[in-house]
């Protein structure tokens, strides 16, 4: 009976959100699949149905393949660096270290700042002529170590990864921190009594109980790194460059290459990548939830 009353609320309360969501997400998302099968330029009205041609073209397109490789690079390298680092920092923070406020500030501040800020900051640091990095190397007498950091693929990719990690660390530390705080101290105490040292405690108590959190964060990381756009776009000034990722190439293809159909196909590919890897991760990381 209460439910009957409550049901009157569905339209007025749920309606607006649902309407907005449909107009600004559902409809365009479905349209994307449609566009990806056309050869629409986005400027002229002709939309010719081409089936899977755009997808075939994408995989034959060197630039697209390179962009996928770059995404893979950022995802993997970023993951390998950011997870241990953020977990470590979270553990440190959970133990009330000295200078706690300062540490929290330095770790969380970059995440609060816009990606553009990170891009401008690190773009300036890596500038080969007046950038902080090269100038420091010169100052220390290490001239030979100076590099055109963002000019060559071999150095540009790691450099941008560093910027990515600097930006993203805060989010992951917070989430790990939240997960850590859920673990009752009693677990650690009994482990200690059993003679486990810090490392063993971490490995056998902390990590298993954080597994769920780790899983969520891996999926988050995948979603984030496949979509990576703003940081790379701003650092590379939107020009074609060797650090191209799917996002920036898609943007270029649609707006400058005048191929919205082709660009939508790339978007669809991106979507399936995210979907596939998320499902994969869920599969591989599946375990019984430990209730505590």
């Amino acid at each position: 009976m209460i439910q009957r009353e409550l049901r009157k609320l569905i339209l007025p309360l749920l309606g607006p959100a649902l309407l907005l969501h449909t107009i600004f997400f559902v409809v365009p998302a479905l349209n994307a699949f449609y566009y990806s099968t056309t050869s629409w330029s986005g400027i002229t009205p002709e939309k010719e149905f081409v089936g899977v041609d755009n997808f075939v073209r994408a995989f034959n397109d060197h630039t697209f393949v390179m962009s996928m490789e770059n995404v893979g690079y950022f995802s993997v390298l970023g993951f390998v660096l950011i997870f241990p680092l953020s977990l470590l920092f979270a553990v440190v923070l959970s133990k009330k270290p000295p200078f706690e406020r300062l540490l929290k500030f330095v770790i969380f501040a970059p995440t609060l700042l816009s990606v553009v800020v990170t891009a401008v900051l690190w773009g300036s640091i890596f500038n080969p002529v007046i950038g902080l990095l090269n100038e420091s190397l010169r100052g220390l007498g290490l001239e030979t170590w100076t590099q055109p950091w963002l000019g060559r693929r071999g150095t540009a990719l790691p450099a941008i990864t560093v910027a990515m990690i600097w930006q993203g660390l805060g989010t992951y530390v917070i989430l790990f921190l939240a997960g850590l705080q859920k673990i009752p101290l009693s677990f650690y105490e009994s482990a200690e009594l059993d003679g486990a040292d810090a490392w063993q405690q971490f490995w056998h108590v902390t990590l298993p109980l954080l597994w769920d959190v780790v899983q969520i964060l891996v999926v988050l990381w995948i979603i984030g790194s496949v979509q990576a756009f703003a940081l790379i776009f701003v650092i590379t000034r939107g020009y074609p460059n060797v650090a191209e990722v799917i996002g920036t190439y898609l943007y270029w293809a649609g707006f400058q290459g005048q191929s919205i159909g082709y660009a939508s196909a790339m978007g669809v590919i991106m979507f399936f990548l995210v979907l596939t890897f998320s499902l994969l991760v869920n599969r591989l990381m599946r375990r019984e939830t430990i209730e505590y």
Partner: protein, 283 residues
């Protein structure tokens, strides 16, 4: 023997941790300090030596960034857009979350997941169709269009958090109110919503920070310089300034853009981290 090995392991673990932390903090601090004191130099000084401290502290760089580079204008744009978008997201998400948490109806699960899947779908997928749509709706190059997109974009996460929140609230209060003859509408606004305050705070913090910093849609949607937001304006500044070799003015602009959030963070650090952690736990 085992003790010694354990001790060495512990020690090296500590050493590595301390090293990493210090390195990270130092490099961040050095980079930020560099930006800040460079913003007070003249360009000639900067090119002469990257490291040197400024000879005299030029505030004219800041004046240039604020006025010529229009950062002041971008600041106001961003402020009012963020406030409106956050308010809108909060309102719509809270309403929807309540229904999804409390009201039983056939398509309930479906609608919930409809919102949720949006979090996993890359914005790139629907970028172009949505852009074309905005064109048809004549909402390109307008703040209204941007605000609507921000609200729609903030809904999935906010609904996710708030639904979870509403679920944890006790049902007795609703039942009591409805039994007493109160309308469901009033019940929601007067009783349930105020109870959700902690969740609302979390959501508004996230929402505000995200819209303040948002770059992607302001890049796509805004064409006229006077409509730009801070992020978009900073990007334009960066692209223009470095080709004009006005690095010090650029850094002044960078500092101006960074300052508000940093100051807010310093002042409200505890509340913010608390709010975010609470949200994270609930999530």
């Amino acid at each position: 023997m085992a003790d010694l090995r354990a001790e060495v392991k512990n020690f090296s673990l500590k050493a590595v941790t301390i090293f990493l932390l210090t390195f990270y903090c130092l490099s961040s601090a050095v980079a930020l300090a560099w930006v800040i004191y460079t913003s007070f130099k003249s360009n000639a000084e900067f090119f002469a030596s990257t490291w040197a401290l400024p000879g005299e502290w030029r505030w004219s760089n800041y004046a240039y960034a604020w006025a010529n580079a229009e950062i002041g204008n971008y600041f106001f744009n961003t402020a009012y857009i963020s406030i409106l978008a956050t308010a809108g997201t909060l309102l719509l998400a809270a309403m929807a979350a309540y229904v999804l948490a409390r009201v039983v109806f056939p398509a309930r699960q479906f609608v919930f997941y409809l919102f949720l899947t949006a979090m996993m779908v890359p914005a790139m997928l629907y970028l172009f169709p949505l852009f074309v749509q905005m064109r048809h709706m004549r909402l390109t190059n307008s703040h209204l269009g941007l605000i609507l997109i921000y609200i729609a974009g903030g809904l999935p996460f906010s609904i996710f958090v708030l639904t979870g929140f509403f679920r944890t609230l006790p049902t007795e209060m609703e039942e009591a109110a409805l039994m007493d003859g109160a309308s469901p509408w009033k019940t929601f606004w007067m009783i349930m919503l105020p109870l959700a305050k902690p969740g609302l705070i979390t959501v508004s913090i996230f929402s505000f920070i995200n819209t303040w910093n948002e770059f992607f849609w302001s890049l796509i949607l805004l064409r006229s310089g006077k409509l730009y937001t801070l992020a978009r304006g900073l990007q334009t500044l960066f692209w223009n300034m470095s080709t004009e070799s006005r690095w010090t003015e650029l850094f002044a602009g960078l500092v101006i853009v960074m300052m508000p959030l940093i100051i807010i963070f310093i002042l409200l650090q505890d509340r913010i981290t608390e709010g975010l952690t609470v949200g994270a736990i609930k999530g």
